[in-house]
């Protein structure tokens, strides 16, 4: 094994070692021991990733096996690494954001009794996510895929005494399993028809797969594979209609909302599709499917962000909407733009979540924006960093989000596949909506009247499945003021704010228009992708200046202005609109009734079906009729035959004579 290969191994194994130390020996090493061990592990992974990055920059890539997991059916199942530009970019994002979240957790979870357990989980998550992105085959991809799902499940339910948390984590796991159902079938199709699970080998056979039809169903094979795989991505990356778990996942502690449910895990689906570009490029049907799902998510989840009052939920819906943007980019073959947005989003969304967490600490675990206002005076660092994050999110020129989002919109503009018209409408209107709800939150939290310390609402947010408030949501007492968070919380905010502002400016050229993804991301000749955009690209400054004259910019500005007008100038308007368009508000407030439908149709329906099969099928028919019926039949025959045994000799003799007579008759007649 070369030194470089050892370094690759070190990247996932260092966080794993931290997780094991903190998880199994948490009592022995104590709280400080746990955070030192895990932070050290992640820091080592980050530094090693930087070295790997420089190596990849120098042109060295790697594709090799670590060990053979199993051999069966002529297929080699392996665990191995594929280190290329896409992998190393993900490695940097994952380890950097994870490191920030680890440091932040010291402050955020300082009073929690499950301190060591929490550090163990987030380090375990980092390990799983790294295994996912570094994989060179479908099997390990699925391993990482499920492992991050497991850790997400454990972390959403971290406060396991809360009914809402353990409801949310079960829901998250099961909804993800619906996606995995498709994903597994997709992997099965790849294995069955390509005879391998290794990316390179499968991609080499992509053309062959594209010309085939499936055996029994007669569907075009490549389309079936891509759609099955994408269903997996819909679960993990929370696309409509499998998005329902993500808002509820906010029940977990805020650091993991930032790490798992914004920056990294939920982008695994995007990453996966980008990785599979040689397959997706061969099916326009699958791409259209991806595009329409993504566009729907981008716009309609954005709408829901408008009516939320819980700070974390606003950010959660904005995450859904931004994941929709990434998916749209995939649909129009702008894979590098999707991955680019994935990266910028990881920074600014982690920043916004951690900022929201800082606000929550400052508000003594009150998450309701209606109880906030004017916090900028008390929490200056949180305020400035959140403002920067919001500007990045709405795509303000020169901020990182501008470069990635504008590229996506331009790519949709240039696309001609079915659904691209609808997608363009969605992403354009989405810009306005994003700006509106982001700045609605920004103004409600940081500006305006100070509403805290008054008789505060007992509930945080107004979601219907919410139990009465727990001791975690006490909020500020009358007269109490919010306070800025400690350095371990604000330092990650500052460190995340820097890339949120500059990373787009710095990297757009190599990532989208340069050679960075050459040979990794594949765009077919018949798809526009980013070609048109590349022709008009004259450097990031020119792009930003040009952006000032385009529609998305003005849509964003008008969103901000409207938010300012509604929530700063005329605070009575939103309530009036809410009254006037009551049915619309109710529809949004109930999240388009997805949850209600799933609860009644799928959850209730399954229980009803299960009970029916059990009571009627098992107990009624099989046990009642067949098993016990057989027993009864035997008993009945016994009773009848008992009648014959009367004990009277003359009856026996009579029957005997009759019998002999019948037999004799029969015998003589035969002759």
């Amino acid at each position: 094994m070369t030194d470089m290969q050892k370094l690759y191994l070190l990247v996932p194994l260092a966080p794993l070692a931290g997780a094991i130390l903190a998880g199994l020996f948490g009592k022995a090493i104590g709280r400080a021991g746990a955070h030192v061990a895990t932070i050290l592990g992640v820091a080592v992974a980050f530094v090693a990733s930087v070295f790997v990055f420089r190596d990849v920059q120098a042109g060295n890539t790697f594709n090799g096996t670590i060990y053979t997991w199993m051999m069966a059916g002529g297929i080699k199942f392996e665990v191995g690494f594929l280190i290329d530009s896409l992998t190393v970019m993900m490695m940097l994002v994952v380890t950097f954001v994870s490191l920030m979240v680890h440091i932040y957790t010291i402050g955020y979870m300082s009073e929690d009794p499950g301190y060591q357990r929490f550090f163990s989980y987030i380090s375990l998550f980092t390990f799983s996510m790294l295994m996912l992105v570094m994989s060179n085959n479908f099997l390990q991809l699925f391993f990482g895929w499920e492992a991050v799902g497991l850790v997400s499940y454990l972390l959403i339910g971290f406060w396991y005494e809360r009914p809402t948390a353990i409801y949310a984590n079960l829901k998250a796991f099961l909804v993800n399993r619906v996606g995995d159902f498709g994903f597994l079938l997709g992997i099965g199709l790849v294995a069955a028809y390509a005879g391998s699970l290794n990316y390179a080998e499968v991609f080499a056979k992509a053309g062959e797969l594209a010309s085939q039809e499936m055996a029994v169903t007669g569907w075009p094979l490549i389309t079936a594979i891509c759609i099955c795989l994408f269903i997996g991505a819909m679960g993990k990356s929370a696309q409509v209609p499998l998005h329902v778990w993500l808002p509820d996942s906010m029940e977990g502690p805020t650091p993991i909302s930032a790490l798992i449910h914004a920056a990294t895990m939920v982008t695994a689906g995007i990453f996966m599709v980008a990785r599979m570009s040689p397959l997706f490029e061969l099916s326009d049907t699958a791409l259209s499917f991806v595009l329409v799902i993504g566009a729907t998510t981008a716009l309609f989840m954005g709408f829901l962000g408008i009516v939320q009052n819980d700070v974390k939920r606003v950010v959660a819906y904005s995450t859904l909407s931004q994941l929709g943007y990434m998916t749209v980019a995939l649909g129009v073959s702008a894979y590098s733009a999707a991955v680019f947005h994935l990266m910028t989003h990881a920074f600014f969304k982690a920043l916004l979540f951690l900022g929201a967490g800082s606000v929550i600490i400052g508000m003594h675990h009150d998450q309701d924006m209606r109880n906030m206002g004017g916090l900028r005076k008390y929490m200056p660092i949180t305020w400035i960093t959140s403002l920067l994050g919001s500007l990045a999110l709405i795509g303000f020129p020169f901020f990182s989000g501008f470069y990635s989002k504008d590229s996506i919109i331009e790519a949709v503009h240039g696309s001609h596949i079915p659904g691209s018209g609808y997608a363009l409408f969605c992403v354009m209107l989405g810009v306005f909506i994003t700006a509106f709800y982001s700045f609605r939150m920004y103004f409600l939290v940081f500006h305006g009247e100070e509403r805290f310390g008054k008789a505060h609402h007992d509930h945080h947010g107004d979601h219907d499945d919410e139990e009465p408030s727990e001791d975690h949501h006490h909020g500020l007492a009358p007269g109490q003021k919010p306070h800025e968070s400690p350095l371990v919380v604000t330092l990650p905010l500052i460190l995340l704010a820097i890339p949120s502002v500059v990373i787009g400016f710095m990297t757009i050229e190599p990532m989208l228009f340069g050679e960075w993804f050459k040979g990794v991301i594949f765009v077919g000749e018949n798809h526009a992708g980013l070609k048109e955009l590349a022709e008009h690209f004259h450097g990031p400054v020119a792009m930003a200046l040009h952006g000032l004259q385009t529609a998305p910019f003005w849509l964003a500005i008008s969103g901000v202005a409207l938010a300012w007008f509604f929530y700063m100038v005329k605070p009575g308007i939103p309530a009036a609109i809410q009254r006037t368009f009551k049915p619309l508000y109710v529809l949004l407030d109930n999240k388009y009734y997805f949850d209600r439908f799933n609860e009644i149709f799928f959850a209730g329906g399954s229980r009803l079906l299960g009970r029916g099969l059990w009571k009627i099928g098992d107990q009624g028919v099989i046990d009642g009729v067949a098993v016990n019926g057989t027993a009864k039949l035997v008993g009945w025959v016994a009773q009848i035959s008992r009648l014959v045994q009367t004990g009277h000799l003359y009856q026996y003799a009579f029957v005997m004579i009759i019998g002999v007579f019948v037999l004799l008759t029969f015998w003589f007649n035969r002759g």
């Binding site: 060990y67 053979t68 997991w69 199993m70 051999m71 069966a72 059916g73 002529g74 297929i75 699925f142 391993f143 499920e146 492992a147 497991l150 499940y153 454990l154 339910g157 396991y160 005494e161 009914p163 353990i166 079960l170 796991f173 099961l174 399993r177 619906v178 995995d180 159902f181 597994l184 079938l185 992997i187 099965g188 199709l189 294995a191 069955a192 499936m214 055996a215 029994v216 169903t217 399954s606 229980r607 079906l609 299960g610 009970r611 099969l613 059990w614 099928g617 098992d618 099989i622 046990d623 067949a626 098993v627």
Partner: protein
């Protein structure tokens, strides 16, 4: 080395050891009986290890063969041997026996010697089933193994134990009788041989093949159990003591599935091909129908029992697709299910020993008082849901992959277990372990002791080892499964 009759040792060490334990007599000597039983169980496991280490993975032939004349008049032989399909089950069986002895250490206070002896003898008899190459020998072991299990349920079981024991006995007896008829018919047709390997080569017309297949299907289907002859299993599990449930789930259910591989498929391959759609349909019904039934169970043991049936549906499904991934996946699933379902029943036993209830509703918030237990239970629950990196994933994954190759819709239906398995397992876990402390019983719970920690940790290691590196398990079976597939591909008509 090769002269040592390891198979006979694997059979007779536990049986004779069991008789020895029985000889310790009344409960005054219970401590001695326990230690002796543990020693015998360990010895029984040790003698199976050479079967793995000395196994030639490149050969599909029977290995460690022993052949002695038993009843010369009917050409019945004491004929033993293992191949890549059966060898792992001897190890699993001997291993599970140690777990069972440990699990019954404190809980069983009455008739300790008899309890331990029953399990040891049963373990030996089951090793006999997995290694018998003579039809009559197989039948004797097969039937004899029913008796200890019947006694375990009937004596140390719950309130309704007699009903459950009789239901269990009659159900399986019905199947056994049909099997006996089939065995006798094969004896006649083969010109007076009871050798199973001879029967594999015996040409048979279609009609008798179908009849033999059906007889075996009922005999082995009851044992697996397959839908719709499964209803004895939940009752038996609910009434059985923890050890009984563990052996029932981990080993006894495998006997039927093993029978398909040793008898039905190689002896009547044409009928097996012809009737494969029937078996596959029944298997898929088991996977989905039983999955839904498991979802609504209120009794933890019943829930895991139904989950067992659903998982065994994967096994029969894997067999009858006649491809390598399917059959090997099914065997892997059987081994894994031995670990996982055994562990699930042990976990429920740990709770039952403390609270004396199996009702989900009597629990809630167990994690507050039993954090170590909750961690183990989580791992096994995840394995039961088929999470990758646990053993539960490997078999299901292989069978689904095999099914995609076979017929996409079969794979589609089978993959539903991904959702259902997680739903019923984790929903139970949530209600039992998470949440606030539900009542005073839960508040007073004590976390697992060193002995309980030991057996749960050993099983956890097995579950993880098999999930992270299944290579050594599948490596053993390749040659035999390949040979089986080659054999089945040739018509006997």
């Amino acid at each position: 080395m090769t002269d040592i009759p390891f198979l006979s040792l694997a059979i007779w060490v536990p049986i004779l050891g069991g008789v020895l334990v029985l000889a310790t007599g009344s409960d005054r000597n219970a401590p001695l009986a326990r230690i002796l039983a543990f020693a015998v169980a360990v010895a029984g496991f040790v003698v199976t290890i050479p079967l793995y280490t000395g196994f030639d993975t490149s050969s599909s032939a029977m290995q460690f063969v022993e052949l002695q004349s038993w009843i010369p008049r009917f050409n019945i032989n004491y004929h033993l041997g293992v191949d890549g399909i059966s060898v792992l089950f001897l190890l699993l069986n001997a291993f599970i026996t140690i777990m069972v002895v440990m699990a019954g250490w404190q809980v069983i206070q009455e008739r300790v010697a008899q309890y331990m002896a029953a399990f040891l003898i049963m373990s030996g008899l089951m090793n006999g089933i997995f290694s018998a190459l003579d039809g009559v020998l197989f039948y004797v072991f097969f039937e004899a193994s029913l008796i200890p299990l019947y006694l375990v349920i009937g004596i140390w079981g719950g309130q309704n134990r007699v009903y459950a024991a009789i239901k269990f006995f009659l159900y399986t007896l019905l199947g056994s009788l049909l099997m006996l008829i089939a065995l006798l018919y094969l004896f006649m047709q083969s010109g007076g041989s009871f050798s199973i390997l001879d029967w594999h080569q015996l040409p048979l017309p279609m009609e008798p093949q179908v009849l033999i297949f059906l007889a075996f299907l009922i005999a082995f289907g009851v044992k697996v159990p397959m839908w719709p002859v499964h209803t004895w299993l939940p009752d038996a599990h609910v009434e059985a003591p923890t050890g009984g449930s563990v052996v029932l789930a981990a080993i006894a259910l495998k006997l039927g599935a093993y029978g398909f591989l040793r008898f039905s498929i190689p002896i009547v391959p044409d009928a097996a091909h012809q009737l494969a759609p029937v078996v596959i349909t029944l298997s898929l019904i088991a996977v989905i129908y039983i999955g839904f039934v498991a979802l609504v169970q209120t009794d933890m043991k019943k829930l895991v029992a139904y989950s067992s049936i659903s998982h065994m549906g994967f096994v029969t499904l894997g067999f009858f697709m006649f491809n390598q991934l399917g059959i090997e996946g099914a065997i892997v699933q059987m081994i894994s299910h031995g670990f996982v379902s055994g562990a699930m029943f042990l976990c429920i036993g740990v709770l039952y020993d403390r609270v004396h209830s199996r009702q989900i509703a009597d629990y809630g918030g167990v994690v507050h008082t039993m954090p170590k237990f909750a961690a183990f239970f989580m791992l096994f629950a995840m394995a039961n849901s088929g999470l990758p990196a646990t053993s539960g994933f490997v078999g299901e994954f292989m069978v689904v992959l095999g099914a995609v190759k076979f017929n996409f819709w079969v794979a589609f239906a089978a993959a539903v277990t991904l959702i259902l398995g997680a739903a019923y397992t984790l929903w139970m876990y949530k209600r039992v372990v998470f949440g606030k402390v539900a009542n005073s019983h839960v508040a007073e719970l004590e976390d697992i002791n060193a002995r309980e920690f030991a057996f749960l940790a050993i099983l956890a290691l097995c579950v993880l080892a098999m999930g992270l590196y299944p290579f050594p398990f599948t490596e053993v079976m390749h040659a035999s499964v390949d040979e089986l597939l080659r054999h089945v591909a040739v018509s006997k008509l």
